[in-house]
Symmetry: C2
Subunit: 395 residues, 2 copies
């Protein structure tokens, strides 16, 4: 039997305390001012703090993040990362570690979390369709193959969003369909809208969750579904919107998710043209075109709607411009670095974080003075996602 002195016992006890403190208790903090930045080159993410404007932790092992997106659990503790390799990873942002990871498909391109926070849905290019997982365990709870046509083909699915009433909405790229899936009952109810247009390539839902809009790659115009009146079916809006008859080279199709909606207007990126289009939100008619620096990719409203920030496709992707939504004109041009890929506003809009992939940094700007406050080094940063998304419909 070994003999130990009290000093030794005290040391062991102190060590035990210290280990626990280092492992667990350093993560006692609120999660309202946290976020995650995708590092696409290294398959990692950085957990960031928007109050201190710092990076807290790096989490590795998330696979191919070349076109990744994120949704948050309703407690704002877990980030669900959808990777290009079909990986679905649940990251504990408090501990800075992977909580669970599954390879759910061959090639996923986005996901959504249900209104009640219990279901995570993933849309896939390969093999197509949508898979639905338990948000807690990541166990598969539903599989929705996107079968269409006489030959029962599988379609790629795109533009997957959550909607109020425990619903998901997505588009079938190959089939030209929009599907509405309702999980409010005991079993999923699927409503299929056919012939909505050629090659829907992305979708968005308005911030109130009422209108789902799919962009069309194969023809001009947009497909709109009013979720307050799903029985009325899909209608076509903005018939002139798209690549047009005189096809311009399109360096990058604009993202739909970020489309800016203010009280009066919706601001849309033109396709293949150096323009931001301004629409009246009540009738979806075009009010104005604003000439901009390049082909717009993201057109995002500051949370108070007073400004719209725009980034551009290659070769103009070192630039960001700010549109004053009252004057409807550009008031600022910034150069955050090479290959600006994404922008994210702090929840109440005082700052914006901008990722510049080839510059290897994320820069934080004051949105009133346009001053750069600081930059954080990152490995080819792309998407930036703050935890307030946990509380928003369709994000």
């Amino acid at each position: 039997m070994p003999v130990l002195s009290m000093n030794n016992i005290k040391s062991i006890t102190l060590l035990a305390f210290t280990i626990v403190l280092l492992n667990g208790c350093t993560t006692v903090r609120g999660t309202g001012d946290l976020g995650v930045v995708i590092e696409r080159a290294t398959g990692s993410v950085q957990v960031v703090d928007t109050t201190q404007r710092t990076s807290l932790k790096q989490v590795n092992g998330l696979g191919d993040l070349s076109h990744a997106s994120i949704v948050y659990s309703r407690d704002a503790r877990y980030a669900y990362v959808f990777g290009r390799d079909g990986g679905l990873t649940k990251v504990d942002i408090l501990k800075g570690e992977i909580s669970k990871r599954v390879i759910q498909g061959g090639n996923s391109i986005g996901g959504a979390i249900s209104q009640d926070g219990k279901l995570v849905a993933v849309s896939n290019y390969t093999p197509g369709g949508v898979k639905v997982f338990d948000a807690n365990t990541l166990e598969l709870v539903d599989d929705i193959p996107a079968i269409y046509g006489k030959d029962n083909q599988q379609s790629k699915t795109v533009g997957l969003v959550d909607a109020p009433g425990q619903r998901f909405v997505f588009s079938l790229y190959d089939a030209g369909e929009i599907w509405l899936v309702d999980y409010s009952g005991a079993k999923a109810q699927i409503t299929k809208y056919k012939d909505i247009g050629l090659q829907p390539y992305d979708g968005l839902i308005t911030p109130d969750g009422r209108y789902y809009i799919a962009g069309l790659f194969g023809e001009d115009g947009l497909a709109l579904l009013d979720l307050w009146h799903p029985e009325k079916g899909v209608k076509r809006i903005l018939n002139d919107y798209g690549r047009g008859t005189q096809k311009m080279p399109v360096y990058k199709m604009p993202h739909l998710e970020g489309w800016a909606m203010t009280d009066d207007y919706a601001f849309f990126p033109a396709v293949g043209r150096n323009e931001v289009l301004v629409m009246d939100r009540r009738n979806w008619k075009q009010v104005k075109k604003i000439s901009v620096h390049g082909q717009p990719v993201f057109v995002m409203a500051r949370p108070d709607g007073r400004q719209v920030w725009v980034n551009y496709a290659f070769p103009d992707n070192d630039t960001v411009q700010v549109i004053d939504t009252d004057k409807l004109k550009i008031v600022k041009t910034l150069k955050p670095g090479k290959a600006v890929l994404h922008m994210e506003f702090t929840p109440r809009g005082e700052h914006v974080w901008i990722s510049a992939r080839d510059a290897g940094k994320v820069t934080i700007y004051d949105t009133d003075s346009f001053n750069a406050l600081t930059s954080l080094p990152m490995a080819k940063p792309s998407g930036i996602f703050f935890t307030n998304r946990a509380h928003q419909i369709g994000l």
Copy 2:
């Protein structure tokens, strides 16, 4: 020198771990699904979990909470509780304890937190004016006496809200003025709007932070300040709105903060009449009156704008009604218990929590089925505040 066996050492170490786990690490959790309910009779609050639908902790010693309200720190960890006795208490909702408490005035009636989360402002009946505190330390950083008139009288201040651009807005009840205070520079800049109407008794700011609206007790109509154009001054809207020429007994002045705004309409509580008024948001003109069960107090929109929930003044305060904002008519009448004081929607709107003071409970309803899911016992519950308010302008 005492001799201890290895088993004893293991026990001591285990004990050490357990103590640390119980004291600190139980509070490692996200704060996105937390909230606080005011217990007005006992000067306490309960910290609640909207995912598990339970109460986690009770925090005592907050003074007179007979007309209390709350704002949140930007990390969603701290609730700033404004008590009727002038107490300003910073509650750590993760630990369930008071972090700091000061008596800042004689009779406070509400507060706000700045866009950057660094300043907490409190409005006072006695002695009047607004005091501004460091959100971290609760040290006084500015004192704004609400002096007016030839005799340099002090006015009660009401309707204090935060606005984008690091600003606060409030009204002077006795002076009939609206003051706009700008903290974006090194020193506060105050702009005073005089003669805005008789006895402004409360104020609201639209969810985008653009329009500040003060309700008038002394005359009909509302005072509106467009914060995108503060140089244009305050104008009067809805000249028929108020108690009218044939004064009805008003059992409780309606709260302004909760006024429901959907894309198309604003829903207002009529003063002293059993009506909810529907206005066109673009021109502030009345579109419709909806007859309701009593004198409305709170008229609140579900986050997706699809429903508006209404509670009533005594003697009809056992009832809540739901208005369908598409059909513009009542679709449900509920009886949550005696003296319904407040309602709070979960961030994405699937549930609503309703406090019934005299029934001593908070009941949680599913907003689609209108089923009561559960009730939590509370000591005369009043205001309910969820942490997603941390990310919203004016809340």
